[in-house]
């Protein structure tokens, strides 16, 4: 981390991680491409076309090469993600605890396949290999919350509760008071 570059402005850790700050700070040091892409993804929620152009413009790495790096790593996404990103664990311990059924149930409940985002932009479903909570298998992470020891019925209930909460929040916003039950 670039310590001691304070120049009279207090730059917090958050700012040091930000996309524009990193672009501005770029000094030609090698190996900065992946951190730049990571902060772009933090900033936009995905890697938009224009981020690739910015990065290429600043670093001088051809756009095609930047794109090649983006597609190599599973962390980077070229499309926007839903409000809730579901990371269903498909690691070994979860697999032997029937995580496949959990994933199928999520696909069925949301009507999307792994990698997809629901039409209302609420959920994106991804799989990951081990979240590191193997003793609570099968495990699903929704944004930063981890849910363990799931069954098909439990995950269905959980997803519905997220939907309901979201609907309630939106209902409040528009003060329409929609009473539709899920």
């Amino acid at each position: 981390m670039p310590a001691g570059i304070c120049k009279g402005v207090c730059i917090t850790a958050r700012r040091e991680d930000s996309f524009s700050y990193r672009l501005w700070r770029y000094d030609g040091a090698p190996g900065e491409l992946i951190p730049l892409l990571q902060s772009a993804q933090d900033h936009f929620g995905y890697i938009p076309r224009r981020a690739i152009s910015y990065i290429s413009g600043v670093t001088g790495i051809p756009e095609s090469e930047v794109y090649g790096v983006v597609t190599f790593y599973s962390q980077f996404r070229l499309k926007p993600m839903g409000k809730f990103v579901i990371k269903a664990c498909a690691g070994t311990a979860c697999h032997v605890s029937d995580s496949k059924l959990i994933i199928e149930t999520i696909e069925d409940e949301l009507g999307v396949e792994v990698g997809g985002t629901t039409e209302d932009g609420l959920f994106t479903l991804n799989t990951v290999a081990c979240i590191g909570c193997c003793s609570l298998a099968p495990v699903v992470m929704i944004n930063d919350e981890t849910h363990g020891r799931l069954t098909p019925a439990l995950i269905r209930k959980l997803l519905r509760s997220y939907r309901r909460r979201e609907k309630a929040a939106r209902g409040e916003e528009s003060s329409a008071g929609c009473a539709e039950r899920l």
């Binding site: 090698p30 790593y73 311990a93 590191g132 909570c133 981890t146 069954t151």
Partner: protein, 592 residues
């Protein structure tokens, strides 16, 4: 004053440790000075999280499954009243080190070197690490020992790399030390890609300074001035704690310019992975740090000669580095006292799967699989039968229960066809289908193949197609032979460890469970009752409420039953799509 310590590793947090911690803090703010509170890393007993420890005068009481309500009770009865809640005690450690409590068995065979501070100190406090004897070893390394002596000490300890291959660490360091160069690098591999292994995460979350100190000592030994920790992005808490640790160590002068006035410089940066299993392979890891697609490079030249940015580089695993300060502190002989002749020291295992006590256990090398599964792990869940352990993840293999007396070390495990790997140990019971297991791992490696070598890219795909066919009951008589031939070809024709080991899970399962493959192929039967296409579906009358959801979802109308009455599946019509299982709101459908 009584100290209260809450386990705040990822395992604890996902079991609700945050709520418990918050409740205790609330109590404390209402009663200032009643006790001291802090957080710690994973204590190992992940199956009893959230864990809360009450420490007083050298005596440690560790409570398991502590909900906010129980935390309140602990405060009222134990902290205020001095009465121990015996029923909730997972482990009690008396001042003389004697252990009792319901989970004493889990700790009976353990010897903690790598995990010496995990679960006892606050990982975000450098002072606690120092108070536990931390950063003593670098004083030795800087002022009392020459680089040559450090390397000799690590050689004498017999320490072998914990990242999977078990290469002697001292020897590796001596190669990097011998290569003259203006710039050298020290790299720590914290990519922990094996799904089912989580000890590196626990060490980074629970004792980040130990890893840093190990790296500093290595840098001193080989003459490097900068280092990188390559940590996978799925471990945000580990990254956060490492960042704090590096900042604190820099403030105290343990890293940076002229460390402790010795004239030696060393600095460390963290690089986050971006989700690619192959980046755990060291040459691919270097490519990734350099900002490229993480593709392995041809060796030789080895990293000790041309590694990161083509400079001499030493790369070790997290656990390897965490051992180093202890060895310098306690001496090579003390370390070599543990373990077997050729595999010295201890190893951390991540127990998971169908075992009662899932968590982390550090045992001397040479402990048997049986001891790990039954004495430490508490046996198999739901009273089922022990079938096998899977070791080494996607590069490893399954060791059947008949070989459970095999000691875990770098000689005995490979002799079974599996590998030590990073220490993930997934326990399987009689309901686990071995063909499906083999298919699962191959699907993983197939996905993660970087595509450079044809055999790895396409050979694994062909094998996956065959295995998928077998699990669907469409296997052909010569499929097993085809798998063996292809598997051996892939091993020979791949550049890096990923391809060279990808067929292992398939080859070992064929070796020990050929009859299961044959049952799938010839009798169209899955002996474990797991492969959907080869089993029958049933509805548990006890759980069925007659809600009709399954019948409505069944694409072939194989489910009959009236509203509010128990439903029944006609297996002669059923196409085994599994829709009824995933749609049931009461978990009433099962397969057999």
């Amino acid at each position: 004053m009584k100290q209260v310590i809450v386990g705040m590793g990822t395992c604890g947090l996902s079991a609700g440790a945050r709520q418990t911690f918050d409740r205790l803090n609330e109590i404390l703010s209402g009663n200032p000075g009643a006790f001291e509170i802090s957080g710690t890393g994973c204590i190992g007993m992940c199956y009893r999280e959230p864990l809360v420890e009450v420490r007083e005068g050298g005596s440690r009481f560790i409570y398991g499954d502590v909900t906010p309500e129980l935390a309140e009770e602990i405060y009222n009865l134990h902290i205020l009243g001095g009465e121990v809640l015996e029923n909730h005690i997972a482990l009690h450690i008396a001042p003389d080190g004697k252990k009792s409590g319901s989970e004493a068995g889990f700790h009976s065979l353990q010897n903690k070197i790598v995990l010496r501070n995990c679960g006892t100190i606050d990982p975000e406090s450098i002072n606690e690490y120092e108070a536990a004897g931390g950063y003593q070893a670098i004083q030795k390394a800087l002022f009392e020992m020459t680089p040559g002596e450090i390397i000799q000490c690590i050689k004498d300890s017999g320490l072998r790399g914990r990242g999977g291959a078990g290469f002697p660490t001292g020897l590796k360091w001596s190669f990097a030390a011998a290569n003259e160069s203006d710039i050298k690098y020290v790299v720590c591999n914290a990519d922990e890609g094996d799904p089912g292994a989580f000890m590196d995460r626990s060490v980074l979350e629970g004792d980040p300074h130990a890893v840093l100190e190990g790296m500093i000592i290595c840098a001193r030994a080989i003459g490097a001035a900068s280092g990188y920790i390559y940590c996978r992005a799925e471990y945000p808490l580990a990254i956060k704690r490492l960042t704090i640790a590096i900042d604190d160590a820099r403030k105290k002068g343990y890293i940076g310019k002229n460390i402790l006035g010795s004239g030696f410089d060393f600095d460390v940066k963290i690089k986050q992975g971006a989700g690619a299993f192959v980046c755990g392979e060291e040459t691919a890891l270097f490519a990734s740090i350099e900002g490229e697609r993480g593709m392995p490079r041809i060796r030789p030249p080895f990293p000790a000669e041309k590694g990161l940015w083509a400079k001499p580089t030493n790369n070790n695993n997290v656990e390897t580095y965490a051992n180093i300060p202890w060895i310098l502190e306690n001496g090579a002989d003390a370390y070599a006292d543990y373990g077997t002749e050729k595999s010295r020291g201890t190893k951390v295992f991540a127990l998971a799967g169908k075992v009662v006590h899932g968590g982390l256990a550090e045992v001397p090398m040479g402990t048997t699989i049986h001891e790990l599964v039954f004495e430490i792990g508490g046996g198999i869940k739901d009273g089922r039968e022990f079938k096998a352990v899977q070791m080494g993840g996607p590069s490893g293999g399954c060791i059947p229960s008949t070989l459970d007396m095999t000691p875990v070390d770098f000689e005995s495990i490979p002799a079974t066809g599996a590998i030590m790997g990073s220490g993930g140990m997934v326990v399987l019971d009689d309901r686990t289908c071995m063909v499906e297991m083999a298919r699962f791992f191959l699907e993983f490696t197939q996905n993660e193949s970087c595509g450079k070598c044809t055999f790895c890219r396409l050979g694994t795909l062909r094998m996956l197609e065959i295995l998928t066919r077998i699990t669907k009951g469409e296997g052909e008589p010569d499929d097993i032979e085809k798998l063996v031939t292809l598997g051996n070809q892939i091993k020979e024709a791949s550049l890096c460890g990923l391809g060279q080991t990808a067929p292992n899970p398939v080859l070992t399962t064929i070796r020990y469970y050929r009859d299961e493959f044959e049952a799938h192929i010839h009798d169209k039967r899955c002996p474990a009752g797991s492969c959907s296409a080869l089993v029958d579906f049933f509805i548990d009358p006890e759980k069925c409420t007659g809600c009709t959801v399954c019948a409505k979802n069944c694409p072939v109308d194989a489910i009959a039953g009236e509203r509010k009455k128990v439903h029944v599946i006609d297996n002669s019509i059923c196409v085994k799509c599994g829709k009824c299982i995933t749609s049931c709101n009461f978990d009433a459908v099962y397969k057999k």
